[in-house]
């Protein structure tokens, strides 16, 4: 199509030029001619744009089964039919060929965006409480993301660990609900605080904070099947206020356990955000979660959390400098059999059967060059089933990004366990991403 048009323009120009030579053109003629060329150019550009869209929409609909039959006819020098020439050739016959791997975005238009993120960790040091192997392919996360229809999109994250496969998240998001509601259904990381919502590969550390490990289900966290509804609440002076309400089946790591069908768990989260200047902002959250725990239907766990994040990023140098300070405070109140508490503790009378544990972390990360980040974290957390025991720790982290799609990280971690011994550990982590350019969470 484009060739024909180009030809048409050339002919039009040539014929006008011939005529012009014969008649000695006036300035007005030249201007009119120029205008005409410009209009024609515009039409070509518009047609090219339409062609791009048609190519993106139509071609994948052709069944790939026709490929073997026509492959022999395909010119060997032109295996990919997404080039301009190829598209022109496509008009000659419907039986175009597309061979694997080639084709760019147009060929895959209706496929979901596919990404794979590898997470390799090497560790050194001795930690009897939480032993880690010397080398591990910690996780290979496959993301499949696409728009379902005009009303919804869907996101799947399947993580292959060293021991098995886990659907980390898989949910549909209804994006076209009235009154500004956004609803999700499926399995998802609960909106409890900040760290619980983050996948491993977007954490600013190799591990998760002690308080997450002790009180909020560790690496998997609160991650369950259910539904979620969120809504932005109108607020004055450009404050962003959003409420999220979630209902889950009630099975999440060691935090919640549904012993029978009605043991649902709930999560509520309020987020408040404000730009302080163009370069800095604050992000505050309050979370609550309630569910039945591993001791049975009659035993409840309540979780309360508050989080605060301050970010600084000078916009004009946004790719070179940034700073993020973040802290989360989490309280966990857990019902458990009085006998258990008596075994663990010395039966402190009033507190019998209920454990009230508290933990927090505070962290800061500074980007000091385009590819370099330095950060630290301080940890403190009681233990869930015996709040009288508290672990403490800290970590220093140095991160390097060879490109946007790979990351090398070193972390030194010290943990002072309640049993009065210290664990010193060093980690090296390598993360690498293939495929679709996923958006970074904020």
């Amino acid at each position: 199509m484009k060739r024909i048009l180009n030809l048409f323009i050339v002919v039009a120009l040539a014929s006008s030029a011939l005529m012009a030579q014969q008649q000695q053109p006036s300035a007005a003629d030249v201007a009119a001619l120029m205008q005409k060329v410009r209009d024609l150019e515009d039409r070509v550009v518009i047609l090219e744009g339409q062609l791009r869209q048609v190519k993106a929409q139509q071609q994948p609909a052709q069944p790939t089964a026709t490929a073997p039959a026509t492959a022999a006819n395909a010119p060997a020098t032109q295996p990919q039919v997404t080039t301009e020439q190829g598209a022109a050739g496509a008009t000659q016959g419907a039986e175009t060929v597309r061979l694997g791997g080639a084709g760019g975005a147009a060929a895959k238009a209706l496929n979901p965006d596919i990404s794979v993120i590898g997470d390799f960790i090497g560790s050194a040091g001795h930690n009897p409480n939480e032993p880690t192997p010397s080398f591990q392919m910690h996780e290979s996360e496959i993301g499949l993301q696409a728009i379902v229809d005009p009303y919804a999109r869907a996101d799947f994250f399947i993580s292959f660990g060293e021991e098995g496969v886990n659907l980390e998240e898989g949910f549909i998001t209804f994006t076209a609900l009235p009154k500004g509601f956004v609803a999700k259904a499926g399995k998802m990381r609960a909106a409890f605080g900040k760290v619980n919502t983050l996948h491993n590969h977007v954490l600013p550390w190799v591990d998760r904070p002690l308080v997450t490990r002790n009180l909020v289900g560790g690496e998997d966290g609160i991650d369950d099947a259910g539904i979620s509804v969120q809504h932005i609440i109108p607020a004055p002076k450009n404050w962003f206020v959003e409420f999220t309400g979630q209902g889950f089946r009630g099975d999440s790591s060691d935090v919640f356990r549904a012993s029978n069908k009605n043991d649902l768990s709930t999560v509520g989260h309020l987020r408040v955000f404000k730009d302080i200047t163009d370069n800095s902002n604050i992000d505050l959250g309050a979370s609550y979660s309630r569910g039945h725990n591993t001791f049975g239907t009659d035993f409840l766990t309540n979780l309360y959390g508050v989080d605060a994040t301050w970010r600084w990023k000078p916009l004009q140098r946004s790719i070179y400098r940034s700073f993020v300070a973040r802290s989360e405070f989490i309280w966990r109140q857990q019902d458990q059999p009085a006998v258990l508490s008596c075994q663990l503790l010395t039966c402190p009378g009033a507190a019998l059967g209920v454990q009230r544990a508290f933990g927090y972390y505070a962290s800061a990360d500074y980007q000091f060059a385009r590819r370099w980040f330095f950060g630290g974290r301080f940890d403190h957390s009681d233990r869930a089933t015996n709040a009288a025991l508290a672990d403490k720790g800290g970590a220093l982290v140095l991160t390097y990004w060879p490109s946007e799609f790979a990351q090398v990280r070193g972390q030194y971690r010290i943990t002072r366990y309640a049993e009065h011994f210290d664990a010193h550990e060093g980690f090296i982590q390598l993360q690498f991403a293939l495929g679709a350019h996923g958006a970074h969470p904020f």
């Binding site: 609900l177 009235p178 649902l264 790719i319």
Partner: protein, 311 residues
Amino acid sequence: MKMMNSQLKFLIVLLCVALLAPSAAQAKKLKVITTLTDLASLTQEISGDKVDVEALAKGYQDPHFVEPKPSFLLKLRNADLLISVGLDLEIGWLPPLITQSGNGRIQPGAQGYLDASQFAEILEQPQGKVDRSMGDVHPLGNPHYWLDPDNGRRVAKGIATKLGELDPGDSAYFQQRYQDFANRLAEAEKKWDAEMAPYRGRKIVTYHRSWPNFAKHFGLDVVGYIEPRPGIPPTPSHTIELVNLMKRENIKIELIEPYFDSKTPNSIASMTGGKVVVMLPSVGGKPEVTDYFKLFDYDIALLTKAFQETK
């Protein structure tokens, strides 16, 4: 617990009803959000005072790396139209914002979502297989197309048509404003072309591949990049190659965007006797560059001065 179950069922029914319910018609001023300031400026030219226009990113920040801040959601949730550059320029930040906006009107494919790249001439569309060994390439073509005033006109025309669709009552007004804009742009183009005419065919290097459309329009020849590959910061070996190339070809001008570090460009300039020109890729890159016309006025004034100085 029984009650919770019935509540859940009620909620699900509510969602289904909500999906089918028609959205309320609105008779107020259209609200348009654009990703970049350039698109906002073009929309402003077309819409006059009939429409409220606002851009998400600032003109002086790198449009590839905008943070998807919740405050943007406040702007998006009431928008009637979202205009994006497209070609994956905003892929790192716009999709989650659209999803979380709770605004069905601006979802991709809906009437209030406009990908402006469909109207523009797109250069550097990769032919054949694309992979990341080439750096952060845009598989659909170079997204910095608004830096050719002809593309500005084409995009403005597309915006005028779209605004007319959304607000049929003012359709004629938008078309008339477009005509007026196109005429003024043609006048300005004559001036810019005349100013740049002495330098047609000059070779330059640029930091990022932000300038192919600009270079094509004004007849400049971009022969090298300070980035070894798109999105990869300069490396010593590549810089040496570039310096040799610039000396060999007697290239004096380096175009860089205001959001890149000027250290490497400056050292290249000192080695080659060249000049670093911090050109603005977007409206609002400097406070005085308030619209699409002033963007070219500013850039061309800088560039012609630099060409004269490095004669």
